[in-house]
Each structure stands twice: as C-alpha cells, then as structure tokens.
C-alpha cells in the first residue's frame, strides 16, 4: 500500500520552507555580495534573514523571560526554605 498521497505536497509550514530556501549554502559566506569567478552575484546574508525571523517571535521571548524570572523566584524560595529549615 502506498502512503504517498498522505504525505505528498501537504501543507508545509513556513519553517519548512525557510529551512530549504535559506539553508547553509548561503550561510557560510555571510557576505551580501559574493564574487564567484569574478562575477557579481548578489546574495542575501543568511544571518540577516535568521535574525529577522527571530524578531517575529519577540513576544515569545518576552514570555520566556517572564517564565525564567518566575523560576528564579521559585528557586530563591526553595533555597530560603533550606537555609531556614537546616
């Protein structure tokens, strides 16, 4: 039995697309303009792209920071508990 239909061309996420269209072939160079055999080839700097992808989820990061400060408080409390309890 073939499962091809189930997998083929199904909706792919943006991350799946960026994962293939950016990739590291570009990343290694890091320059905006590559000179290949003396010909100007304008390429994007992958790091620029990645960072722009990352800014999208800034709000997520903020949430993560809140979470970590919450965790910090929790640990502090645990520590106090040990010190006072010991």
């Amino acid at each position: 039995m073939s499962h091809r239909r189930e997998f083929e061309n199904k909706e792919v996420g943006l991350i799946d697309i960026l994962d293939v269209v950016l990739d590291k072939g570009v990343a290694i160079k890091g320059d905006l303009i590559l000179s290949i055999a003396g010909i100007d080839l304008v390429y994007l700097d992958l790091r620029v792209l990645i960072s722009s992808v990352e800014t999208l989820i800034e709000s997520n990061q903020e949430a993560a920071e809140q979470l970590s400060s919450k965790r910090f408080d929790q640990e502090k409390e645990e520590l106090n508990h040990v010190i006072n309890g010991a």
Partner: protein, 267 residues
C-alpha cells in the same frame, strides 16, 4: 536602466512551457517570469529594478520579517510549480545577478555540470524528515525509567536537608543531560533506518522554538535523496514509525518531494 536578474532555477531546454510561465508574476509582483536559453538548458528568471532591489535596498527589505516571509513563500511557490513539470536545479532564495551578462557567464561556465545534475535528479526525489518531541514528557520518562537516576534519588533521600538541596540540583542537571541523550539516540535510530533506504542523506541543523514558533522541540532535521522507486518504501516506513511512536509524544514529520535544494547545487 540596468535590470537585475532574479534566478529561480535551471531547467532542461524545452518549448512546451513558455505560455504557462508568462502568466506568472515575478518577485516584485510586476516583472513577468520567463526563461533565457543557455545551450541545452534554460534559466527561469524575472527582472528586477536596480533602484528597488539593489544591494542596499535588498538589505533593508530583508530586515522586514513580513517581506521575507512573503517573498520566501513566493520563491517556494514558483519552484513547486516548475518542479511539477520539469527536473529543476533550484536556486536559493534571493539569488540575484547584476545583469543578464553576468548570469550568462556563470551558466556557461557550469553548463556541463548542470546537464549532469539534471540527468541525475530526473528519477529521484528529495524528502525531509523532522522529529519533534515534548521535552517535558521525555524528561519525565527519563526521570522515571533511568536506573542511574533512580539509584541517585534513593541516595539523596537519606541525606541531610541542606545536602539534599544541592544534590537535587545536580540530579536535575543529570536528568537534563540524559533527556538530551535520549532525544538524540531516539532520533538517530529513526534516521539510520530511513537513511538505509536513501541514496544520499544529510543531517541538518535543528531550529529552536523561537524560530519554529512551536511548543514542541525540534530534535532532528534531515534530508534524503531517494530513487523514485524507493519512495513508497520510505513512506511506508515513516508511517509505521509514526504509528509506533506518536503515542509516546514523538512527532515524526516528513515533507516532500522538494525540488532538489540539497543535491542539485551548482558551485
């Protein structure tokens, strides 16, 4: 005014698709997509205005997440349309030449290589597998089932409260390490099984949650080049693995077939 050339990909020489292409708009939503013949191949391109898409402007545009998303998707969409019809050597997003002349020089220099690549990919498909997991679930399982950890926990139970606190912290770190090891070993076993069906394969970088925007953690990302005839076998295998592991929180996801971004590259 000089025009920049945005290159989508290289396809074999062919006359049957000209009409289809001319109805598609290029990256700037203005210039039409068309082909330029180069010996036995054709380059699929669109022109871009130098003022709007020159080096400085392009850099500005790439800082705009919305622009990147929209245009990367456009690139993908065009490539998928082309891929439905022909073998294609796909270019990465934003491969732009300063003019037709520089494109011609590049393509002339790689003509032989391009013909070989087009021949090579003709009867093959590129598929990608990503494995996602629920990190807390993996951690929990490791914490419950790992004998070293269990032993350690018993020892800690007999210590003084102050000592216990420190040792528990250390144990937490150990559990983290073991959980990471578990993710890697689980995923690489799956990879080995699939790799044995493929002609070529490559382990790619995992993207962190900030980039994927998902709650699950990506713990594996790899690409496989398969003979057409092996694809069914490959997908059957994936299906079996999915059914087996999904209940324990492992999501094995495959996408494809992709234009051969990984195995049809010109130097």
């Amino acid at each position: 005014m000089a025009k920049l050339v945005y290159l989508y990909g290289i396809i074999p020489k062919n006359d049957s698709y000209k009409e289809k292409l001319s109805t598609m708009k290029g990256l700037d939503d203005f210039h039409e997509i068309h082909t330029i013949p180069f010996q036995e191949t054709e380059a699929v391109i669109c022109h871009l205005d130098e003022v709007q898409y020159g080096e400085k402007e392009l850099e500005k545009k790439t800082n705009d997440v919305k622009w990147v998303h929209e245009k990367a998707f456009h690139h993908h969409e065009i490539l998928m349309k082309l891929y439905e019809e022909f073998p294609i050597i796909p270019m990465k997003f934003c491969t732009i030449y300063s003019g037709e002349e520089s494109l011609a020089k590049k393509l002339d220099a790689h003509q032989e290589n391009m013909i070989e690549l087009l021949e090579f990919i003709k009867d093959k498909e590129e598929w990608i597998m990503k494995i996602y997991c629920d990190p807390s679930k993996v951690r929990e399982n490791v914490s419950e089932q790992n004998t070293t950890i269990d032993q350690k926990r018993k020892e800690i139970g007999e210590m003084s409260p102050g000592r216990q606190y420190l040792e528990k912290r250390k144990l937490d770190q150990l559990i983290d390490q073991e959980a990471d090891r578990e993710k890697d070993s689980f995923a690489s076993n799956i990879h080995e099984a699939l790799a044995s069906i493929s002609l070529q394969n490559e382990v790619k970088k995992n993207w962190n949650k900030d980039v994927t925007g998902r709650t699950e953690e990506m713990c594996w990302n790899s690409v496989y080049m398969l003979k057409n005839t092996a694809v069914d076998d490959f997908l059957n295998h994936v299906k079996e693995l999915q059914d087996k592991w999904e209940p324990s929180g492992w999501q094995i996801e495959v996408t494809g077939p992709w234009p051969s971004y990984h195995y049809a590259k010109i130097g």
